[in-house]
């Protein structure tokens, strides 16, 4: 018995330690892995605009290993493809682009080490990434102190200009998504909605924004529910929400399979309610695997406007070119990637190019930040996601104008989805 108690006590401690190490739950999964740094030379193909001179070094902070490795793979794809394209087109201000990839492992501590290495050993001029809020918040002070402009791909509301004076975000934040979803609920004429999401940080922000914006719109929030990241059966949550008799359900999943589990529960409970879905509903592959295509009746999702189309117009030629290009660059990774997410990392490098060239080759963070904050419209003629702006009050480049409500299952190549509103 003494031996059993001792074993039990030790095991409880070990499990608690493991849980702390590995981390459970939300979109900020952390994982173990080794730091793996590679530098990638952007190569010129011998075109007449071959870049020359000293390399412009851009650090890429992404979770190459660990639980977020899928995101890291897509980040690398976008950044490396962008570097190749930039060098084919003459580089940035005539200078060749060289990438320095750093593995954050999805972990703030590893992220800080990676950022330090980029600054001290690689002597980077700029950085793109990281991808997770906690990693971004942990690494930003280093880049700020070093005077390095960064374009992160994080949606945390904590990334205010005060916290991140020289950093701009390419990811749509939770509030912008909710603004768009509330607009859609109004457009559909609903007087009450329920809300379901995972229990992650971004979802908490989304819920707070939903409470505020629904109240402003005069739409009643009949109930809200959350699920843990490892949940597959959402029926308890959906039964609770059904009790409030809402007109519609705002669903804010962070993964495609969670989007599917919500719809699966709706189907199994025979609850015929419209679903106004967030970005997670553009990840239709995994969602259809879980719930089936029939479950998408009366469901809308939210995608980047560039990755949406109207039947009469077809796909944006710039997006079509991007999709073809990235598939040719690496067909294996492209086949399993969410190309709208890849486009964010692709655009991040193009934003750096525009900022540098508009400022006569300047690379200091202060000059470029001032230029971006001063009303410059980015990606008017280059990149994938068009018409990006920021201000001194808001460093999020993707706003509600860059989002479109879509039919998730009406999809063209590359994940381009049909818009709901095409007037």
């Amino acid at each position: 018995m003494y031996r059993a108690k001792s074993v039990l006590r030790t095991t409880v401690i070990a499990v608690a330690l493991l849980a702390t190490m590995v981390g459970c739950g939300d979109d900020d999964d952390e994982g173990a892995g080794t730091t793996d740094d590679t530098s990638t030379d952007g190569g010129a193909d011998g075109s007449s605009e071959e870049p020359s001179g000293e390399d412009l070094v851009i650090g890429v902070l992404a979770p190459v290993t660990g639980g977020g490795a899928g995101i890291g793979e897509q980040a690398q794809l976008g950044a490396e493809f962008a570097a190749e394209k930039l060098n084919e087109d003459g580089g940035i201000d005539g200078r060749p682009v060289r990438l320095a990839i750093a593995d954050t492992q999805g972990d703030p501590t590893a992220g800080v080490s990676a950022a330090r290495r980029l600054l001290t050993q690689e002597d980077i001029d700029f950085a793109v990434g990281p991808a997770y809020s906690q990693v971004t918040l942990a690494t930003l002070p280093l880049f700020t102190d070093a005077g390095v402009l960064t374009v992160n791909v994080t949606g945390s509301e904590d990334l205010t200009p005060e916290e991140a004076p020289n950093s701009f975000s390419m990811l749509v934040n939770a509030r912008a998504q909710i603004e768009r979803l509330v607009e859609e609920a109004e457009s559909q004429g609903h007087s009450s909605v329920a809300f379901i999401s995972d229990n992650g940080t971004q979802a908490q922000t989304a819920l707070a924004a939903a409470e505020e914006l629904l109240d402003e719109a005069g739409i009643e929030l009949t109930g809200s529910q959350q699920y843990a990241y490892d949940s597959t059966d959402m029926s308890p949550q959906m039964l609770d929400l059904r009790g409030g008799e809402p007109d519609a359900l705002i669903a804010f999943p962070s993964t495609g399979d969670h989007a599917g589990y919500i719809l699966e529960a709706r189907e199994q409970l025979n609850w015929d309610i419209p679903v106004i879905g967030g970005y997670g509903y553009t990840l239709t592959g995994p969602a259809i695997e879980v719930a089936g295509e029939d479950a998408f009746e009366n469901v809308t999702g939210l995608n980047y406007a560039s990755f949406s189309y109207c039947e009469e117009d077809g796909m944006d030629p710039a997006v079509e070119e991007f999709i073809a290009g990235v598939e040719e660059f690496d067909s294996t990774v492209a086949a399993r990637a969410d190309l709208n997410y890849v486009s964010l990392w692709y655009d991040a490098l193009h934003i750096i190019k525009q900022a540098v060239e508009a400022n006569d080759g300047a690379t200091d963070a202060e000059t470029l930040t001032e230029w971006v904050e001063g009303g410059a419209t980015l990606n008017e003629e280059v990149g994938v996601n068009r018409g990006l702006t920021a201000s001194a009050e808001d460093h999020f480049l993707i706003g509600t104008e860059q989002l479109a409500v879509v039919h998730p299952t009406r999809v063209l190549e590359g994940g381009v989805q049909q818009r709901v509103h095409c007037d």
Binding site: A4, T11, C24, G68, A69, I71, D240, V290
Partner: protein, 292 residues
């Protein structure tokens, strides 16, 4: 009231998986005094056998055969893990290396899954379908897991009481030193215990795959849930595990319904603490001091 019944039935179904994990814990612990911290990850591997081989065209008979295959594959894997785990224990004076080796195996499994399947969740086609319950439709997966849990309990009980190997394992659980002194091949039987745990988890993961989250990072969740069921039922006691698994499943589901999904883990841990405060040895755990 209807909602509570619906949730209770689903909770029993997912709780049956926790029972299977608890049986696996018990099988290894009773023979070796080791708690295999890779149990949750082995369960996920069992589910991934389904993701790899089950298609929409798989017949029910084919699915049953694959369930057995999953059990066999994981039995072999777990037996190999047993060899690695137990080898250092045979010679060292310190007997805590199992903590490191079983944790290491869990991390290795996660890495292997990430390499093999990528980071996204694997989804297994639904072969069993749905059954109408109180105006809703419930996955038959929950019925299958309950059937498997009860069958496993009955099978293990019969095995431990009626077979020579089972009797030897029971003897080791009661008094390891005495069992060894009588000439029982304890080393070999300990590997058999690991294999039994692997078989339980392989089949459990396969049968319950539609209800499980099959990602490289889900193993920890099932380790914790199964461990809670094991301790609540009484460490080493399969009858306790049979009851505690569904208890934990129902409590966590009801907590999600009443208070929100963010309280599910808290609810499970509350059950653990509450039971241990009232009955430190678990619901059906027995006191182990033996009068001499």
């Amino acid at each position: 009231m209807e909602e509570v019944l619906i949730i209770t039935m689903r909770g029993i179904g997912i709780g049956a998986v926790y029972s299977l994990i608890a049986y696996a814990f018990n099988a290894v612990f009773n023979a070796t005094a080791v708690l295999n911290l890779a149990q949750g990850h082995l369960l996920v591997l069992g589910g991934l056998v389904g993701a790899e081989f089950v298609t929409a065209d798989t017949s029910f008979l084919g699915w049953l055969v694959l369930a057995v295959v999953a059990g066999v594959l994981l039995a072999v894997f777990a037996a190999a893990q047993g060899v690695i785990t137990l080898a250092p224990l045979r010679s060292a004076s310190e007997q805590w290396s199992w903590l490191v080796t079983t944790l290491a195996v869990s991390v290795i499994i996660d890495a292997l899954i990430l390499r093999w399947r990528g980071p996204s969740a694997a989804v297994v086609p639904d072969i069993l379908g749905l059954v109408d319950v109180l105006g809703t439709r419930m996955p038959r997966t929950y019925i299958a897991t309950l059937v498997l849990s009860v069958a496993a309990f009955a099978g293990l009980a019969t095995f431990y009481r009626r077979s020579r190997t089972g009797l030897a394992l029971s003897a080791m659980a009661q008094d390891f030193d005495a069992a060894r002194a009588t000439g029982i091949a304890v080393g070999r039987l300990q590997i058999v215990a690991f294999a039994i745990s692997g078989a339980l988890l392989g089949m459990g993961g396969f049968v319950g795959a539609r209800a499980l989250s099959l990602t490289p990072v889900s193993g920890l969740h099932y380790l914790v849930s199964g461990f809670i069921a094991c301790v609540v039922g009484g460490l080493g006691n399969d009858r306790g595990a049979l009851i505690a698994g569904p208890l934990v499943g129902v409590v966590t589901m009801l907590a999600a319904y009443e208070f929100g999904g963010q309280w599910q883990t808290v609810a499970a841990l509350t059950v653990l603490i509450a039971v241990l405060m009232v009955r430190p040895r678990g619901l059906l755990g027995s006191s182990s001091m033996r009068a001499v």
